[in-house]
């Protein structure tokens, strides 16, 4: 019997075991409480640019009323917002604006991309439109539709609740900021070109980089 085995305190596994116990305790006791309060008090920051914003307003008004799901207060300042809802198409001219709004929001923060145009560019596959806001800011929930009905947005909010309730404080890198890289992009150039691949009547258009 070596002296290290007397109590187990000095064993190499001791720290690991204690840390795992602590993580387990956080996951079982702290996370549910924190996530419950976060999910049920989401302050949305509306970024309405097009017809989706009309459906967003309907979702906020009395008939659908997303205050029932904890979005009681709409934060028109990004510095007091939890979830950025991009409702509508995003032109390239607005790309630095939504990026700055996203950068100003404090952690924890989430993004809902509402509608076909915000998610993929939709029918606006042209020179002026961002092909999916996920090339500019990271997106948590995509709500399809053109525009989505308020029920669709509410379902997206409930999906976001589900996602938040699955998060854990001990997950490394979960709340890391995602800054633009030195090229000024959020995704690698090849990915951006791939997810906005040519199709339709301009199939023959060249893609010089």
């Amino acid at each position: 019997m070596g002296k290290h085995d007397v109590s187990g305190i000095a064993s190499p596994n001791w720290l690991t075991t204690r840390a795992e116990a602590l993580f387990d305790w956080v996951k079982q006791r702290v996370d549910p409480a924190v996530n419950w309060s976060r999910a049920n008090s989401l302050w949305p920051m509306p970024f309405g640019t097009a017809c989706c914003a009309i459906e967003f307003m309907a979702a906020a008004a009395s008939r659908f009323d997303f205050a029932r799901f904890g979005m009681e207060r709409q934060a028109f300042s990004p510095r007091q917002a939890d979830v950025l809802i991009c409702a509508g198409r995003l032109p390239f001219k607005l790309a630095p604006v939504i990026r700055r709004i996203y950068d100003q929001m404090p952690q924890p923060k989430w993004v809902i991309s509402m509608g076909a145009c915000a998610s993929t560019g939709g029918v606006f596959d042209n020179y002026a439109m961002v092909q999916g806001i996920d090339t500019v800011v990271p997106v948590d929930v995509y709500v399809p539709g053109c525009p989505p009905r308020p029920e669709g947005l509410l379902y997206g909010v409930l999906l976001l609740h589900k996602k938040i309730k699955g998060e854990s404080l001990v997950t490394a890198g979960l709340r890391d900021e995602q800054p633009l890289d030195d090229r000024g992009l959020r995704l690698p150039p090849a990915t951006i070109d791939e997810i906005s691949e040519p199709f339709g009547n301009s199939l023959h258009q060249f893609r010089s980089a």
Partner: protein, 205 residues
């Protein structure tokens, strides 16, 4: 046919090109050297009185033989009459035409839009900058026929250039502030601003 065309021919002679009526609208072609004179005459002559410039736009046809045209939509508000004036630009030389912003102040932004979308230069324009696309936009003029639908650069390059644009670079504080240009405003506008929305001078004065 709008009777203004006959009056234009009588006044300007060979500077007036062909004229046609289409869907009830009269279109008249004007020599680009006389454009400002013709439009000023149409605006100031009592019988014509086209006092409202509805729109300025441009047309590029698929037929490469046809030159690019700049179109002026005029309206006489009191007479309820419309006239469409077209100018053909020089296909070989530079795409340029005289600005009419001195006749109608509203032409300022309309001509900026034509410049932004078609690359037509308006000589004598007080502030010829892009108006829809951002100022550092480098891909060209989007409504020209040789412009690809998705732009000239790859999507990644477009995103990069857009994200590197400064969203605050478009208007300076001086441009947005009326206080600094108060001395240069016309007196009736100064008076209107002083009276405010209710149209009355505040009690304090």
């Amino acid at each position: 046919m709008n009777p203004s065309v006959a009056a234009l021919r009588a006044t300007f002679g060979s500077a007036i090109g062909r004229a046609m009526e289409l869907c009830g609208d009269t279109i008249v072609y004007v020599d680009r050297a006389h454009l400002v004179d013709v439009l000023r005459w149409l605006r100031d002559t009592p019988g014509q009185a086209y006092d409202y410039l509805v729109d300025v736009t441009a047309v590029e046809y698929r037929d490469r033989e046809r030159p690019l045209e700049v179109v002026y939509f005029l309206r006489a508000l009191a007479r309820v009459a419309d006239l469409r004036v077209k100018v053909e630009l020089d296909p070989a030389g530079e795409l340029a035409v005289d600005s009419v912003a001195s006749l109608w102040a509203g032409a300022n932004w309309l001509e900026r839009e034509v410049y932004d979308m078609f690359g037509v230069t308006f000589r004598g324009h007080p502030d010829l900058r892009r108006i829809l696309m951002w100022e550092t936009y480098a891909e060209g003029y989007p409504l020209r026929k040789d412009f690809p639908l998705r732009g000239r650069f790859s999507r990644a390059e477009q995103v990069r250039q857009a994200l590197n644009a400064n969203p605050e670079a478009h208007y300076s504080l001086e441009e947005l502030s009326l206080a600094d240009v108060q001395a240069e405003l016309p007196p009736d506008m100064v008076d209107r601003l002083r009276r405010g929305e209710r149209g009355t001078v505040p009690h304090s004065e």
